[in-house]
Symmetry: C2
Subunit: 456 residues, 2 copies
């Protein structure tokens, strides 16, 4: 691929040589090659390719500049390719076009393609309706297996998948069953298709893509039909779209857990302004939250002045709370996403996190205590005459902070879900911020309790 | 499902009623019902079900206590079901059995099933070899489309998928092509299968499951053949196994990013000892790292005593570094996993993170400065006569810490990958710990620079 890249940057790209190379390649490789080019150059290559190969390339969600390439194509080529693409991908591209190109192109499309794309664009992003394709196979319930197979042979080229065949009531055209191609070819040719069909598992157009992914993975389906309230099939969501959706969803969740707004752009394409937009907002919000730690510290200023030795352990104690909270939050976000726990299970979780936090806190507290004792005994640092009390304060505060971190961290995703947000909006930095202020309070309260009358 | 659950805890489960209910249900629902039962009760129900329905249930990876159920079954039923299951799932179950049950059951199996399972068990976990199934369709290159279709009709019941047909050289039995069922039924019946076939995309048995997932998703395949070095097909990995693998992989990555050891058990089944094991190790390691903050603070004890006002901002500054680091790390882990950036791109990333960190740090620094000025001016808190210098120290330290956090956080996944580890082993708490100690150093160094001669 390096040679292609060099050719572009040199400015004299041999589009004919590239087109001939692409027409013999795997579509995934072709997409990677075109991703290295400027959109105008990619369009120049596409024009030279056979129409079916161009359509195959534009149909891949991995193609980076689909809309830019379509705009750079001659209008007539663009309409032919859009009409030949799977409807969901064509709608995706049209959606990303700027005006006036969008309206112009839509008007140039043939009537059925335009109506289909307009229909798909009407559904909110990340729903089954927005993901579905309208190219699927339906047959009336009265047909035989043989006639169905004959029909599939005829329409195969224009359908995204033929592995699931949807059986409609001959009069109402409502979905009454689904037959896999596998079952169709192994069945008796004279059998009525309705007899081979199973009762279909369906979804609705407004179902979230995460829910659709769960359904497909649960039932090991290759496609799920999207039906309206009356039971008419609007489209199907196929397993390859679902894999893309799962990967995208996981990227978004990982970024959100890292404490930033999700982005579906590849890293190197986000650019500096995009980085600031995606990261600056949350960073400022978290910073405003963390400003409370300064207020908390100001509140305990008197204690700090009397026992400056206490400040030495502030970072240690705060971070331990944040770390245990981050563990609990990451566990619960996934458990809720995979439906391993439900909203009503919050008390079970709390009952498990409480002893977990106690034991983990005791472990850290023991290490902390050993450290204070060791440093004192070996003369590495002098914590003053009350060094044992200081060690105990640190240990007790660690237990308190880790318990609070574990419980708060595990409850945060529940609270978000309860409030109607995505539990995956909880992030490690958010938990750390929540736990930091409380951690300081716990530390100074414990110190007041243990050191009152001696140091404080 | 509540009724089932109540019935179990009551102790008088009507296995006959349940079996009759299950024999009419969707397999995914059946699995959920059996997951509510004790393994012995589930086994008692399975015995009563038709063999094909039991096999379908045991074949689902969502079944929680597969090995326990198999052990609780009569030996003869167990061997029949294992022989009927898809080979990859049967191997999964055998692998999880304890001795002596494992050896006993293996010896009771028929020869071909035992050999197949032993072969699959020889591959390391999470590789294509361990995931693949051995039930797939192969035909000699000399056959016609019609004969192939006839063959599929005969063997369909015993194959996990028939949607991809692998064409072998008639003599060497090496893989020479792959035909989709779709292409097969739409082709001329008299056409030679070798003419319909495309050159196959393959993987090797030791390929990591993440890599296999990438391959399947890249080429929108329903299955990928696993071949040995000589080109013989050992098995196939199907798209439904890949979806399960992607979900499992993402769960593991999310847990690792949260700062704990990955677990594939559902949350409520981990139990207290498991929680301590999975979380305690990393928490202690991170704690030991954080102990360095105490040493750093001790190092600057003189400065702390002179200017106790500086301690007020320690949590704020440290957490800002951790937060910006967490953002950068989560971005880069996903970018590396999705191959959006490669190891050699580290300098591009550093060149983008540097100005990003500068701008984000300047934003936070400005807020921090405004806060100090506002509190001073409105008389909320008195930072002393050098309040402006303190504000500037905080602002400058924030810029330094956020730049360091962004750059260090983005480089950590590269360093892990370079050292041969999974970049996803980088966690938010790990980054925070790395940044905390340096953050303190930056803060105190900046303070010495700005406040030397006044406060310090």
């Amino acid at each position: 691929m390096t040679d292609t890249h060099t050719a572009t940057t040199d400015g004299d790209l041999d589009v004919f040589a590239l087109a001939s190379r692409l027409s013999g390649g795997h579509v995934a490789d072709n997409v990677e090659i075109l991703n290295q080019l400027e959109p105008q150059d990619a369009a120049a290559v596409l024009v030279l390719l056979p129409v079916d190969i161009s359509i195959e390339i534009l149909d891949k969600p991995e193609l980076n500049f689909g809309p830019e390439i379509v705009v750079a194509l001659p209008r007539q080529t663009a309409t032919i390719l859009l009409a030949g693409m799977s409807a969901d991908m064509a709608a995706d591209i049209v959606q990303q076009l700027d005006e006036p190109a969008r309206t112009e192109l839509m008007q140039a499309l043939d009537e059925p393609t335009r109506t289909t794309i307009e229909g798909l664009l009407a559904y909110p992003e990340n729903t089954a309706g927005a993901m579905m394709t309208t190219e699927f196979v339906t047959v009336p319930a009265t047909w035989t297996a043989e006639r169905t197979l004959q029909h599939i042979r005829q329409v195969e080229r224009t359908r995204e998948t033929v592995y699931a065949i949807y059986v409609l009531d001959a009069f109402t055209r409502r979905l009454v069953g689904a037959v896999s191609l596998r079952r169709l070819i192994s069945g008796e040719p004279s059998a009525r298709i309705a007899e081979l069909a199973r009762s279909p598992i369906t979804t609705s157009p407004l179902t979230d893509r995460e829910e659709v992914a769960r359904l497909i993975s649960r039932h090991d389906m290759l496609a799920v039909p999207v039906v309206d309230k009356a039971g008419h099939v609007l489209g199907i969501v196929t397993v390859d779209d679902i894999i893309d959706a799962i990967i995208e969803e996981n990227t978004e969740d990982a970024q959100k857990f890292g404490g930033m707004a999700a982005t579906d752009q590849p890293y190197l394409q986000i650019g500096l302004p995009g980085m600031i937009r995606k990261r600056g907002g949350w960073l400022c919000v978290l910073f405003l939250g963390e400003l409370l730690t300064a207020s908390a510290m100001q509140h305990f200023e008197g204690e700090l002045e009397k026992a400056i030795v206490l400040t030495l352990f502030i970072p240690l104690i705060m971070s331990s709370g944040g770390n245990s909270g981050s563990q609990a939050t990451s566990l619960l976000i996934r458990a809720l996403a995979l439906r391993e726990v439900k909203l009503g299970d919050w008390w079970r979780v709390a009952l498990l996190e409480l002893p977990t936090g106690l034991i983990l806190g005791a472990m850290l507290g023991a290490i902390g205590l050993v450290r204070v004792v060791a440093w004192q005994k070996f003369g590495i640092y002098d914590y003053g005459e009350h060094w044992m009390l200081i060690g105990l304060t640190v240990a007790a505060a660690l237990i308190g902070v880790v318990v609070f971190g574990s419980v708060a961290g595990s409850m945060l995703p529940f609270m978000l879900q309860r409030a109607g947000f995505d539990p995956a909006s909880a992030s490690a930095p958010l938990v750390a911020t929540l736990v930091d202020v409380t951690g300081l309070m716990i530390y100074f309260s414990v110190a007041l309790l243990i050191l009152s009358g001696t140091l404080l």
